[in-house]
Every structure is written in C-alpha cells, then in structure tokens.
C-alpha cells in the first residue's frame, strides 16, 4: 500500500473533493497552517483558480458567507486556520450553521465543511493553541470529525464533503508530518464508527486527533511493562460511536481519556460521564481524564509542555489506573 504524509493527504482529499464535485469550492488558505507544507496547497489553488476563494481577515464574514453559499447550492470547504479564530466566527458557526436545518424544520440544509487546526503546536501561547471542539460538541447541529492518520483523514473528509450537514473538520499541525498507509482506492468512511488502532485487555485509552499518536506511543511502552492497552479512536465526535467505547470498557474494565481540550467540560468530561452512566458495572477503577490543564496555554516551552497531555503523562496515568507502580 502506498504511504503518504498526513499533509499530503490533506491536499489529496481537497483535490479529490474539488475534482469529484463542481459544487465544492475552497475558501481560505491555511489548510496546512503556517507549516512548511503549506506550499503544497498552492499547486492545487493554481490548478483550480476558479474554485478557490481567498477571503480577507474576516472570519465572521467569510465563514458566514460559506454558510450562505452552501444554502445557495455550493458545497464549500471553509478554512478557519488556527482554531482560536473560530471564536470570531462563533456567531455564524454556532448560531447559524448549527441551527438552520432545525429552525427551518428541515427545509434548508447547510452542506459545508469548516476546517481548523487545533491544539498545542509549540509557542502558540494562549491565543493560538485552542481546541474548541468541546464547545462545538455542546452545540447540537454540527458534525465533528477528528482524524488521526492519513487514511482516516481522506475517508472521513470525503464523507464530510458529501454530507448535507455542516461538518467541523479538526486537524492538528503536529499530525502533518505523520506518515501512514493509504489504500489506492480509498472509500469514504461512514461517520460514527470508531476505530481500534490497538487492541488490549487491561486498559482502554480513548483519544482523538494528535492524542491518538501519543496514546499509541505510550501503549507500546506500556506493553513492555506488561500492561495491555486498547486504544479507541472515535474518528467522529458527532456522531459518537458510544457502543465501541462501552464494548472496550466492558472488556478492560478501566478507562483513561486523553484529550487536548481543557479539562473542565472538555471532550474527556463527556466521555467519562457517558461511561460512568452506562458502564458503571464494568468499571474496576475510577475513570481518569488527561487533558490540557485549566490555564490559558502558556508560551514558555517548559510551561507549555507541562500543560499538555504528553506521552510521559499518559504513561503515568495508565500506570495509576491499572494499579501498576510507576517505574515498574
């Protein structure tokens, strides 16, 4: 199977989307953030100049314009660049896009994709390191996809583009350099189906986006300590594959949620609460949550590392949930 970089997969899925449907237009220019990869999108833009729109720095206006364009019949993929800038567009994303289908009693659909790059990326400090997906989750009406590898990315975004709903496509700049196998004729991946990138029996780790990579890394190390970890990657937060999580917890009896949102009311809270409610009898130990600490993300490198869920923290948390002493 051919391998490709996650960043290449981003370009690939944009290309396939544009090629596959005349109605797909791209709005924005930071799909690959400010990383060196971003020149790769440039080729695509040059190839399809009529299908690309470079908006001014006006997130409220241009995200809203994407919504309107979707209502009128386009299927725009709108890029908000850094997740933090979605706050400027909240009024349009969360008060318009999320509500329109419902408010109109199903008369009107908003077939669009909204892309952003989330998370701690190194030196982004408080205003460029957000993971707002938990807030989006708290607002019904948006589908949320959180790919963690090139193949899933392509399959999920193909589904998102074909979906008649507003879909939030969450990327992480640290994923761009990940390499992975991508089948030649990759098919759209249906929403609401988690993947289990690693099977295990002692502990379930729930993780999405970049945290899947870190959890897999930690699981590898834990295996050598005799702890068998199962990693559940939901792939889409909305809709959520609750059954896959509950099934895994039923098997392992222990849950660690690793997530890059802030802790309070983050993605981890919802997962923990769901499992606490529905798999209470299966639990052998308290659920642990690992998330970005509840402070604004600090700038200084050692401080930044201290707030984000690192592999070392995953190891420590996994040992504590499974009752294995650290340093074992």
């Amino acid at each position: 199977m051919p391998r490709m970089l996650y960043a290449e997969a981003v370009v690939e899925v944009l290309r396939r989307s544009v090629e596959g449907d005349d109605r797909v237009h791209l709005m924005g220019q930071y799909f690959l953030g400010l990383t060196p990869h971003r020149t790769m999108v440039g080729d695509l833009y040059r190839q399809y100049p009529d299908r690309v729109y470079f908006p001014p720095i006006a997130e409220l206006g241009y995200v809203g314009a994407g919504i309107g364009a979707a209502i009128a019949g386009l299927r725009p993929i709108v890029d908000c660049a850094t997740a933090s800038f979605t706050f400027q567009a909240f009024a349009q994303i969360l008060n318009e896009a999320a509500n329109i289908h419902y408010m109109s009693g199903g008369q009107t659909s908003v077939p669009m994709v909204i892309h952003y790059n989330h998370g701690v990326r190194g030196g982004g400090a408080a205003q460029h390191s957000h993971s707002p997906q938990a807030m989006m989750w708290n607002t019904p009406g948006l589908e949320i996809v959180t790919p963690s590898n090139p193949a899933d990315l392509i399959g999920l975004v193909l589904t998102a583009v074909a979906s008649d709903n507003p879909t939030i496509w969450v990327d992480h700049v640290r994923l761009f350099d990940i390499e992975g196998e991508v089948p030649e004729n990759i098919e759209p991946i249906p929403f609401g189906r988690a993947s289990i990138p690693r099977e295990g029996t002692d502990l379930t780790i729930f993780a999405s986006s970049w945290m899947v990579r870190r959890s897999l890394e930690a699981s590898e190390l834990l295996a050598s300590e005799g702890i068998s970890v199962e990693v559940v990657d939901p792939r889409t937060l909305v809709p959520l594959d609750e059954e896959a999580i509950l099934r895994s917890v039923a098997k392992t009896g222990r849950l660690l949620v690793v997530d890059e949102c802030h802790l309070r009311c983050g993605v981890g809270a919802e997962i923990a609460a769901t499992v606490a409610e529905h798999a209470y009898g299966d639990l052998l130990a308290p659920i642990r949550r690992l998330a970005t600490l509840d402070v604004p993300v600090p700038f200084s490198p050692p401080l930044e590392q201290y707030v984000e869920p690192t592999t070392a923290k995953i190891l420590a948390a996994a040992r504590s949930v499974t009752g294995v002493q650290s340093g074992a």
């Binding site: 400090a125 050692p302 401080l303």
Partner: protein
C-alpha cells in the same frame, strides 16, 4: 494641565529606531538558532511609526498593540532585556514567559498589552479611552494595527464607537500593504483605508509612515486633539515591512527590491539629520545600541526558566 506633544524629532529618536531594529534583528537570529520558539512577527522597516507616535506620548498614555508589537513596546519605554527574556520564555520576562512575543505587556511604562488577534486590541484601546474620558483624566489611548485589521468587523464597530462617544483615542494604521501574506488589493477594494474613518466623521490623515519627520508632527497633532477633548483621530501610515509575515515564512518573496534603502526609515532619518548638520550627534549610535541589545539578549538567555509552580498562578486573582 494640557500637555503638548513634541512635534520635532532628533537624534534620540534615531537611537530608538536603531534599538528597535537591533532588537528585531537579534530576535530573528535567536529564532533561527532555536533560542526563541513560537510565532515571531517582525516589523523591520516600520520603526518610524512606532517611534513617531510613541515619542509624542506621555508616560501615562496607554498603548495597545497587535501581533507585531516589539517596536511599539520599545518605543514606549520597555526594556529590551525583559522583552528578550519574554520572547525566550524566561522567568525574568515581562510576563514571566507566559505571554511570548504576541502578548507582550509592560503596563508600568504604558505599554498595556499586545494581542495575537488581528484587530483584537482596538476595542481595548477604546475602553482605556472611555475610562479616561469618564474619569476626566487626560490620558490618551493608542491602538496600532495593520491594514489587514481594516477588513475586520471589530474595526468597523470601533470606528463607530470612537466617533459616537468622541473618545480620546488615536487609531494608528500601519499600512504596510500586506495583510499576512496577501497584498491589500486582495483583501479590499478600498484603496485609502482612512476613507472608512471619514465615513464616521473621524479626522484622518494618510501619511508617509517611513518618514519620521512626517509621522511625528501628525501624531502629535492627533494626540493633542485627543487630549484636549477633540475626540478620535485616524492616522494611516503608509509603510513597508522588510520581512515576511513571520520568521520562517516559506513564501517570502520580498527580496532585494524590498530592501530598497529609500524606504528604510532609519536611513532616511539619518540623512535628514545629516542634512540638518547634526552629523556629529549621530556618531556611534548604532554601535552603542547594538552592543546594548547584544548584552540584553545575552542576559535574557542566561535567565532561568519559569518554575512549574508558576504555571498555575495568575489564572485568576490570587486570594
């Protein structure tokens, strides 16, 4: 008491411009060496607006800047050592390493804060101005922003509010012709950004922002107007950024032509002072300032990292 802003500029301003230039060039070098992380936006080539405006302000006047803030902070009186320490994430930085380049703050010298959000500082400056006005104080607030900010909704909301309430604020648009990576023409059909302010009845001036001898008197007039109850002003400074949007920008195409000396505010002001027969006063400025900046950088890099306990402090007021 009404203070009148100095409308003239002299060698001390050249020194300040060199300080900013030396600071940013050093920052660029440290970034390339991996001593500074994160996003670093430089304003090399725009020193005349920072020095022209801040040099006409009083210490208690309040400045609010954006993601390209170093020059404004230095011109307002911030220490280069503590700024370097902040850029390098050290405990001795102004913000103890929690802010970094885009979130510099040195309120003790009236550089209240910077923000990484385009146009995010405009309402903050208006709030400071509202505060002065309602309290009957004479402090003026200044917001520095780029041409990209003029396309944001906040810009429009703030022009309306500043005019409606006749706030003592000077809105300084550093129009360097580029919003992030794109030329202004890709962002708006409006050629003269000050036209927006005209619409709201705000006095405007569009000037050569690379000529300190033009910026200073224009700034002084605007600041005096604000201080004397004349309300807001909009100063559009046409300037030229000699670097890419940020350090490490892979699309940087602004090479030799952009380095045109004719546009360099430092060269221009140097020539002006020479022409004014003040050459003698200029000697050694650059060397002295570069050495001072070098020393400041060295000390900053030798400073300790923050402690882990620092992480959780100052999220909210300490009990």
């Amino acid at each position: 008491m009404v203070v009148t802003a100095p409308a003239q500029s002299g060698p001390e301003d050249l020194e300040m411009m060199w300080r900013i230039r030396a600071f940013e060039e050093k920052a660029s070098e440290l970034f390339a060496r991996g001593k500074i992380s994160g996003l670093l936006h430089l304003a090399i080539g725009q020193e005349a607006t920072a020095v022209g405006v801040c040099g006409a302000l009083q210490p208690t006047d309040r400045v609010f800047s954006g993601h390209r803030p170093h020059g404004h902070a230095i011109a307002k009186g911030a220490e280069t050592g503590r700024l370097f320490a902040e850029l390098a994430g050290r405990r001795t930085g102004y913000c103890g390493g929690k802010g970094g380049s885009m979130h510099l703050a040195a309120p003790e010298v009236g550089f209240v804060t910077a923000t990484g959000i385009v146009a995010g500082n405009l309402p903050l400056a208006l709030g400071a101005a509202l505060s002065s006005k309602c309290r009957g104080e004479s402090d003026v607030a200044v917001a520095f922003f780029g041409d990209g900010a003029a396309q944001t909704g906040l810009f429009h909301e703030c022009l309306n509010l500043a005019s409606l309430w006749q706030l003592p604020v000077v809105l300084v648009c550093e129009n360097n012709g580029f919003a992030e990576f794109s030329p202004l023409s890709a962002h708006t059909v409006v050629e003269r950004l000050a036209d927006h302010a005209d619409t709201y009845g705000i006095p405007t001036e569009t000037i050569d922002g690379n000529d300190l001898t033009v910026v200073r008197p224009a700034a002084a007039a605007a600041i005096d107007r604000a201080r004397n109850g004349g309300g807001p002003s909009f100063l559009e400074c046409l300037t030229h950024r000699l670097r890419g949007h940020y350090e490490g920008d892979p699309t940087l195409k602004r090479g030799a032509a952009a380095r045109d000396e004719a546009k360099d505010p430092i060269q221009r002001f140097t020539r002006f002072l020479h022409d004014a027969a003040r050459s003698a006063e200029l000697e050694g400025i650059e060397v002295r300032v570069r050495a001072e900046v070098e020393q400041a950088a060295e000390e900053a890099l030798a400073a300790p990292w923050p402690e882990r306990d620092d992480l959780l402090t100052n999220v909210v007021a300490q009990p």
